[in-house]
Symmetry: C2
Subunit: 272 residues, 2 copies
Amino acid sequence: MDKLTLFKQIEKKQSFLCIGLDTDLHRIPQHLLEYEDPIFEFNKQIIDATQDLAVAYKPNTAFYEALGARGWQSLARTLDYIPKEIFTIADAKRGDIGNTSSLYAQAFFDRMNFDSVTVAPYMGVDSVSPFLSFEGKWVILLALTSNEGSQDFQLIQSQHGKPFYQHVLEKSQEWGNTDNLMYVVGATRGELIAEVRKIVPDHFFLVPGVGAQGGSLEEVAKYGMNSHCGLLVNSSRGIIYASIGEDFANAAREEAAKLQVEMRELLQRFCK
Amino acid sequence: MDKLTLFKQIEKKQSFLCIGLDTDLHRIPQHLLEYEDPIFEFNKQIIDATQDLAVAYKPNTAFYEALGARGWQSLARTLDYIPKEIFTIADAKRGDIGNTSSLYAQAFFDRMNFDSVTVAPYMGVDSVSPFLSFEGKWVILLALTSNEGSQDFQLIQSQHGKPFYQHVLEKSQEWGNTDNLMYVVGATRGELIAEVRKIVPDHFFLVPGVGAQGGSLEEVAKYGMNSHCGLLVNSSRGIIYASIGEDFANAAREEAAKLQVEMRELLQRFCK
């Protein structure tokens, strides 16, 4: 999927919502445990209930790996079920030497047909480039994350007077372009999003940390939006676990709809 | 497994060899494809042929993930087959926010009973700590890798006048200790290994990059060894693909034995 196709989805749905499928056997409604594949059944009902409101789905691979081979089957079935026009993100935080990154790319792009995968930058060019060589696929590179530990290394100043995450932004633009490279940019600090936007004006950002991790959607839009929206804002737990009863899919839809209403208004204000 | 138990293995076998199980359907001997689980069969024969020469096995998870659910089954069977006294490493390069890293730790430590997992440091304390909270298990944190891209970020100088990887070494010592934290230290530059050893005198290093990636075993021992050896040196392709014929396990044994002879001599010279 290219950038324009993604932007058309955003315009059509008036939404830049990404729904995180952090699906946990211990947190899904108990009546689903009677199904042969409860994880897939949960995802299916969430997707059915929200697909007109979301432009992306983001399964977090850890939740599936924790279930072993069975979890990988649920993940593959989920991917097959998501409508083709919706952008899919393997939130996997992979990254290794070249031949190994190539295999991860095969796993997510060829075997499961994800549109994108999140990648960690620490090992540099040959850990990221193999993912970029797949036509029509995307790397979403960790730049500035929203967790507590983001301060440990990402914000260390280099001798060039800029924080480490800025080196990641600058260097990686030599490897990819606005049609195959996005960045993870945490939502907890509006002024930092503005900093990042200055360095990469045209790239899409995947923004975690709205909702449970505590960022403001309005700040994100105000400081991060560009003329093609340029944002995918994720919410996971706040949507998918809105209810743990039999009404969970409807409850998820209601939460997603609230965000979509807010996003429509923000698109009108800031997407120009 | 604690540090002393690992060191006793090293003394007994006079070896600090780790064998990388980068098992690839396209590279294993073709007669194995008749087995119901060729990947496991290959690993089993490699383990049978080398277990008295190696102190650790390191499956690279990408090779298994690339095969989907079936690959995860082969990986789990391989783990069950490795003798309990041999140290096992999930070379997975994981790392994410706290609740997600906890799930990765469960997947590798509880579900598959690995002794250790390689972790990427970029997201900081809460991405690493969940792995450290498992009794008797280890984090092997990426510090200085041996690939081309290691220069892109790991060697950037901070305003404190030290390269970024040194910040990773220093900060992470606040999180773990010599009984639950090792470091990945690339083998391509002897003087850099000496630098790292100065900062972390007592931690074990996992050293990739001897053999196919091109480092010298003698340099690694000279600059990296401490009084408890402190080294696990990995070889993958050089051992497991020594032959692609029916004699592959014997050929692998021969390559492993060559390294063990060299390692015995290096232990006598440098482990004091």
